[in-house]
Symmetry: C2
């Protein structure tokens, strides 16, 4: 049998030779991915000794004198009833899309304590070290893949009580031998028969949030530190990771240099967060959590419930439901609204507690002046494009608007580029190719994750990504689009589509969902709808800006050719009445060696929504920050 010790030479991941076991880098365990994502599903590895580690996704205990249990059906198992009652089962169910009625009842009723209830009397025997003895069947995930490994552990190997060992989320590191499953009916190609338990990290099922069955994604938001342990969030993270590398690869491969633009800035437009040390750091204990908790229910949960209850009422009204059901639902919604009001009240500022900012002297602040979190890296990129030609960056951008919806966060990451010697068409070419490259990349590198997400979140994602990757994106002008919207007969818009208005979500959704039925690039917007620095077109009414818009999400990439003519930029700044001082350095770029240039900005979060079909941006990234919410 093969040694797995630290002295064993670690093999490189790209080694495609038929060597049987690849140790994980920087660990003496084997990643489950390398066992389970082999073409043979791992069959060729039978007989090999390995160390594996991971967290329990489901478990069963079978009395030693019972027949072997039927196979686990999946990482996320549904209840089955085809075996003896002696066997005890514990499964995790995380669903993002559930029957609307089920969610309705779950959300505020709490759904009951649905973490696994063991027959403790039955298993107590093991605790005391006496028979009956059990064989545990674990389905283990280590997060390297959507697939789980079945691990068989004899109760004699464990010093931890069976109820603890079997609990969802328990961490297990085991040494054992890989084998073909005993049960002929097993869906697994390979399983591990443990010989030693090297580590057990227990959970407290009473307090572990993932112990609850069928937790919808929005309820997981309060547990952002645990939710990557669900298969769905794990898969979304792996897709996100691939999109990140793909972005760097695409631009460097195409001759762009990465530039590290600053997060703290003195330049920028719109609502910005101030960065300061004048107010000190609150080091004393928070007396109480200031916001939003009532009986353990957060305002987010309540808001989500309101949204769903509203949908339910809508559904009941449209369907043939009886009046009583509607009345009951409306009554229930009212109660939830009241709760929301109570929670919101806690947020309202008391009059007079805020200090006027005039009293603070920001020239005494850390940087000797006002400093903010950046809203865009493109200003700074322009400076480097005017020296290195083609540059890009990838970093966090911040908007302090008090908006809380499914498409907006206060902190989002953008991939931004700037290209000297380039014009609007070039930027649209760049957006088109970059967008399609990202789609192709994840289809190839995150096939299994997308398959899993398809099942759980949105059946159409793979088809949609494939269609996009092979399409040519249409480019239509704002003017054409307005004329199309004016001809719309199936839809009335809250904002009447007249030349000059900014396109709203309802316009964009009509265009992508009903007219183009896919992504589209809209360009040449009225100058008043875009920032001052975008290049004025020859017609003097429109500017060289574009948006790449996708169905359901909206804008994923924005782009523009920015004004390179000093006099023009100077005049446009005047129209917007901006403070000149902060933009002097930006104007300098036009004073000395100016050049035509254009660039794009991709919102990684919105790309991730497009790539996964997730409806809410708060579920797409690890630790979302939004108005009224910043955990961890």
């Amino acid at each position: 049998m093969e040694s797995h010790g630290k002295t064993h030479q670690k093999e490189k991941d790209d080694d495609v030779s038929p060597k049987p076991i690849t140790l994980s880098k920087y660990s003496n365990r084997v990643e489950l991915k390398t066992l389970l994502e082999r073409i043979d599903g791992g069959a060729g590895l039978a007989g090999k000794k390995v160390v594996i580690g991971g967290w329990v996704k489901s478990s069963r205990a079978v009395k030693k004198d019972s027949p072997p249990p039927p196979p686990h059906v999946a990482a996320v198992a549904s209840p089955s009833s085809d075996h003896t009652t002696t066997n005890i089962r514990c499964t995790e169910m995380i669903q993002s899309k559930m029957n609307i009625f089920k969610r309705f009842f779950d959300v505020l009723s709490g759904g009951g304590k649905t973490y696994p209830i063991f027959d403790k009397t039955e298993l107590a025997g093991h605790k005391a070290g006496s028979p009956p003895e059990y064989v545990f069947y674990f389905s283990i995930s280590d997060g390297s893949s959507v697939f789980n490994l079945q691990v068989i552990v004899d109760s004699a190997l464990s010093t931890v009580p069976a109820t603890q060992l079997m609990a969802l989320g328990t961490c297990i590191v085991a040494e054992g031998v890989l084998r073909q499953p005993m049960a002929a009916s097993s869906k697994y190609v390979i399983e591990l028969e443990a010989e030693k338990l090297l580590h057990v990290g227990t959970v407290d099922p009473e307090k572990y949030p993932l112990s609850k069955k069928q937790l919808p994604l929005h309820m997981l938001r309060d547990f952002s530190h645990f939710r990557p342990r669900t298969t769905t969030v794990g898969s979304v993270t792996r897709v996100h990771s691939a999109l990140t590398l793909a972005s760097h690869t695409f631009f460097q491969y195409n001759g762009f240099e990465y530039v590290q633009v600053p997060v703290i800035t003195t330049t920028g437009l719109g609502e910005m967060f101030r960065v300061t040390t004048l107010l000190g750091k609150t080091v004393d204990k928070e007396k109480k959590k200031p916001v939003k908790e009532k009986d353990g229910i957060s305002i987010d949960t309540v808001k989500a419930a309101i949204k769903e209850k509203t949908k339910l009422i809508d559904y009941l009204k449209r369907s043939d439901s009886n009046r009583e059901a509607v009345v009951a639902a409306v009554h229930d919604l009212k109660k939830t609204n009241d709760l929301a009001s109570q929670l919101e009240m806690k947020r309202k500022p008391k009059a007079g507690t805020l200090v006027k900012s005039e009293k603070l002297d920001f020239s005494k602040d850390f940087f000797g002046r006002d400093a903010y979190l950046t809203v865009s890296g493109r200003f700074h990129l322009e400076s480097y494009a005017s020296a290195l030609g083609k540059v890009y960056t990838f970093g966090p951008r911040f908007i302090a608007d008090k908006i809380d919806n499914e498409r907006h966060l206060a902190e989002m990451w953008n991939v931004e580029t700037e290209m000297a010697f380039s014009e609007l068409d070039d930027a649209m070419d760049c957006a088109d190719e970059f967008f399609k490259y990202l789609c192709k990349y994840i289809l190839e590198k995150r096939h299994e994750d997308l398959k899993f997400i398809s099942k759980r979140v949105d059946k159409a994602i793979t088809t949609r990504l494939e269609a996009t990757a092979s399409s040519t994106l249409l480019r239509v002008s704002y003017t054409e689009v307005i004329s199309l919207l004016q001809k719309a007969t199936t839809r009335t818009f809250e904002t009447k589509p007249e030349w000059g208005v900014a396109l709203t979500t309802e316009h964009l959704s009509y265009l992508t969902d009903e007219i183009y039925k896919g992504p589209v690039i809209i360009h040449s917007y009225p100058k008043a709808t875009k920032p001052f620095y975008i290049r004025l077109n020859e017609d003097k009414n429109t500017v060289a800006a574009f948006d790449l818009v996708v169905p359901k999400i909206g804008v994923v990439i924005t782009g523009s050719q920015n004004e390179e003519r000093f006099e023009m930029l100077d005049a446009r700044m005047g129209e917007f009445a901006y403070t000149r001082e902060k933009f002097e350095w930006y104007l300098d770029l036009r004073r000395h060696g100016t050049v035509k240039h254009s660039g794009i900005s991709l919102s990684m979060e919105h790309m991730l929504l497009f790539a996964t079909g997730l409806p809410d941006i708060k579920d797409a990234i690890p630790f979302p920050r939004s108005w009224g919410k910043a955990n961890n």
Copy 2:
């Protein structure tokens, strides 16, 4: 001749077939890199028509009846005098290391207006459209490479006055034909004879900072938006860019998933920047620049001058200089110190202008609670490692300590990893391999840039990077290191090396410069010198932390195995008396499914100092933010 129009099919960068011209992506120009970094230096391209763009690095005008001028000697030319006085020359000189006396006189005397002075009477003839006519010889850079292209322009092609066309920093887009140089003595393999000037972006030499000759790097800091146009900063940026891609590639290749950790956080230790919207955004004009300008001289310039003058005095004292010279230098230093004091006075807070933070209710702030800029991503990464196994991130980290030195910035970017099922040795393996991978990567991918930086900044860098890439880094314990320091006979330390003290810069420099003469890993530090969350070793006195230390720079990578045992972590937190509430989620990771784990954190800025030999971190990254300083 070959078409260069937009319809011309763009070739991929990795196309190694002998096709002659590769258009830049998203532009109809050709990048100079693709012409000048060919194995044949571009010779095979003679006769091809191309469009190029770039900025003037040096220029000469030769009367049409004169013989062709001698070749340019380099992008950064030294004055030469081997041609007729009719010819007018304009060259850029940016140097990071100059003769100490030269710098001494340049710094506060301003060095005089050394931007190019043209013989305007002579060239005025062209302005009026009458003879004499000129041929201009430009050395053009587009930032894609350290190499410049010689471009020959007949004055008849230009409608811009010759003095403007020739000024350093002018942007030129030209269409022309590539040819072998006419002058047999030329060092260029290829040059461009312009047929059309498509664009000229002029500079105002009176105001353009790079017009000044011999501007040292520290004086460029006030012009962070222009300095990438210098060859040195361009090369440093390209090295930085390569290090960034290399980081992502290394970790993804080794099975790590990228995780986007938040920049705004409620968790963290030490001095942190507060993020707030309570104080509004200052939109009105700044009455005056609040800090640091006196007669156009910034405090940074003065500080740098003090440093150099101090060195000068030191040098004069040690050498055989006469007493008068020393007295004069000391007197001069005193004057500069006085100026520094005056400038510093402006920063001092006036008593009573600051508002007490108690008056602000942070539960009314944007996030409903205190929020700060993150100091480290590893807390958040631990949560994802406890789900996905091996994760990494790359993002900005912030420290609000009022420190201003050559190794510290308020905003720095770290590459951070966290690995479940891994221990201290694994993290040291990871640090060792990652560090050496970065060295190898830039040696291979940024060969020309490193060669250029070697010439300008530090002759030893290539040798040092090569030696490091092929070495095995020694691992020594803190205890061993203390005993070595105690035996030091050639050096006395301000902080006496006794077991228990934190290692200081002087200790680290002695160890890497004199004992190990290269990078070394120091591990197992006394628990009091490291944060509470690092795993306590069996000896109960030391913790599982390490630092990878390099000569001259200090620590480039830190790493640790963090405490996975709940009781132990809980107790250590108690010792440090931290606010529990903010760390409850972090403790949760030990309550539910805990696992041994370790990770590392590389400071990209410090890596860049090691890779380039630059002495000051403010010159290593595009837009540095430090105490009292945040431009743009």
